[in-house]
């Protein structure tokens, strides 16, 4: 409104904004933003025996340069990338495949499949961790018998216990649990593709595969991109499964250590090791930065090139 219109009626104070935003924002700021900031600030201090002193970036320098810390840090980071890579290469393609199959036109029982396949996603890691340890346990021998029955018996090993395979095995368990999420999201996008477009490509002579490759896939790319980001963020926050199965020491020989377990050990300590709030905060800050940089890079390089399409 221009100043010339002096006798215009005044806009009242936007009480409705306070009403709508206030409660949510208050809770969010008090119980999430503030504690997190507090943590970030803590990473600039050194806390010993209840005394804290400002040390600037020293904690971070220790973390990435000091041998004892950096080895563990880089190891966890590297493992985390492996963990993420497996999710990207296995979880999301399987999710995609399932979504594509589920969205096949006139498929009977698709709702039932959908619900059942989503089920593991609903279960807690306490259950998941326990079940898979049992299944993979050489003592119980379910997997071994199974592999034996299909003629692959000699490939069985104590996967969860071997340095070379523990992380991969855990990643697969995690994939098994969370495959429902990419599946659901991609499935929903596929359903949103108008039938007309698919019909058009059929009339144009494309077979099912060509229709998928040339038409459907480009149209669900934005969702796949979003799923990738979600996977990235979730993987770099991952903790529960490793903790439930391998404990905070993430054995054998830290081969299953992720940023999450590393943070836990650093922050809260473990067994005889004392936790260090300030070092823990430094790890948390780095985790946050890695996630942020990852997401930014993604948004900058990938998301920009992917267009969303209105149908």
């Amino acid at each position: 409104m221009t100043p010339s219109n002096q006798h215009d009626e005044k806009k009242p104070f936007p009480w409705h904004l306070v009403f709508f935003l206030g409660p949510g924002l208050l809770i969010y700021v008090v119980f999430s933003v503030y504690p997190l900031l507090d943590t970030l600030v803590l990473s600039l201090y050194n806390e010993q025996q209840g005394q804290s002193s400002f040390v600037g970036l020293q904690n971070f320098i220790t973390l990435v340069t000091d041998d004892t810390w950096s080895q563990a840090f880089w190891n966890a980071l590297g493992n985390n990338f492996k963990f993420f890579a497996i999710h990207m290469l296995v979880q999301n393609p399987i999710g995609l495949l399932l979504a594509v199959l589920l969205s096949a036109p006139k498929l009977r029982l698709s709702g039932t499949y959908r619900t059942l396949i989503f089920m593991p996603t609903m279960l807690s890691v306490v259950i998941i961790g326990f079940v898979w340890q049992l299944l993979l346990s050489p003592i119980w021998g379910i997997s071994e018998d199974f592999l034996y029955n299909i003629g692959l018996g000699q490939y069985f090993d104590a996967w969860l216990g071997k340095e070379g395979s523990a992380l991969i095995t855990l990643a697969f368990i995690s994939v098994w649990q969370f495959v429902g999420i990419p599946m659901m999201l991609i499935y929903a996008t596929l359903l949103n593709i108008p039938d007309d477009i698919v019909d058009a490509s059929v009339v144009d002579g494309a077979n099912s595969f060509q229709t998928f490759w040339h038409i459907k896939l480009p149209l669900i790319l934005p969702t796949i991109a979003m799923v990738s980001i979600l996977t990235f963020v979730a993987n770099f926050n991952a903790f529960e499964l490793i903790y439930a199965v391998k404990g905070a020491l993430a054995g054998p020989n830290f081969s299953t250590d992720l940023m999450g377990t590393f943070f836990y050990r650093t922050f809260f300590g473990f067994q005889l090791q004392q936790g260090s709030a300030s070092m823990g905060a430094a790890v948390a800050t780095l985790m946050f930065l890695i996630i942020l940089v990852g997401v930014m890079l993604f948004l900058f390089f990938i998301q920009r090139r992917i267009q969303r399409f209105q149908f």
């Binding site: 003592i139 996967w159 809260f268």
Partner: protein, 394 residues
Amino acid sequence: ANGLSIESWRSDDANIWSDVIIPAFNKSHPDTKVNFAPTPPTEYNSALQAKLKAGSAGDLITCRPFDTALDLYKDGHLAKLNDLEGLKQFSDVAKSAWVTDDGKDQFCMPVASVLHGFVYNKEIFEELNLSIPKTRDEFFSTLETIKTESRYIPLAMGTADQWEAATMGFQNIGPNYWKGEKGRKALLTGEEKLTDKAYVDTWKELAKWKPYLGRGFEAQKYSDSQNLFTLGRAAIYPAGSWDIQTFNNQADFEFGAFPPPVAKAGDTCYISDHTDMGIGINANSTNKEAAKVFLNWMASKEFATLYANAVPGFFPLSNHQIDIKDPVAQEFMSWRQQCESTIRNSYQILSRGTPNLENQLWNVSAQVINGTMTPEEAAKETQDGLEQWYKPQQ
């Protein structure tokens, strides 16, 4: 407030506390309501620390031995107990796990210790006509016999949980090599190094266990080991005395125990008799007086008897003479007379810095058994770790 709340990692004992111990206490102190609030062992330290920082922890704190508790005291979370009446019931050795380095201040009262050794399945031993091994050679030939002459797993242990390898393996058989307290103290003063023969030999013996472990032991967890044994599928189980209780519940065969075998018959034997559990008072407790009353009661013979029999395998540290009814527990207890006791060597002071010796021991012991690390490498890695921060070893 009139209530007392106890922080503990002994979630296994919850029933015993609520059904036996607390009612016994309430008989003489009917006005004090006591609540036993355990957290599972794996989360105990972190959860407790967080609660203490936030001021939400219980009035009584179960203390891990040595530095974990010491740090809590230094951070002002534990109250000083120097003038606690009940402390008189304990020897200095028992109290040593919970005093300051200068020996001046006591911050937890000892409760119980645990012993290590081997538990065996008597039925299998009978079936195979085996006798209890006294020396290492006998021990390995026993294992060999079981392996070749039966389908039983000779030794029930896994490395998935890492600590099993360190605690039931390294700390179990090690004292015989480093001569108990003598070796432990020498490490503290820097006279001995972890690369010395005694330690390397300990790992060498552990490495020799590998062929006798069950298939896929790398993924075998502590509970799996327990199950293998209680289901009668394994003959020998490297044990902590606390396992007795579980085995009593679950094994439907008779089992016995023997101490870690020595090099030659007649050698002095050393056993790990670890002061595992103490109890202290939360410095911020609003109910300190009642807490003290409770502690004093815990120093009594009544408590010691109750506890030792309710939780066979946890041996009271007080000076009272008590009767233990469980035969296997009795067996364990009897080693205190035959052998020299020592505590775990990584607990006092040596796990104070980064890297953490205890955590390292878990890791390397598991790796040595897995065969992914040689005993020498294990020794070097732990020694390097120590040297990084521990002055006497530098």
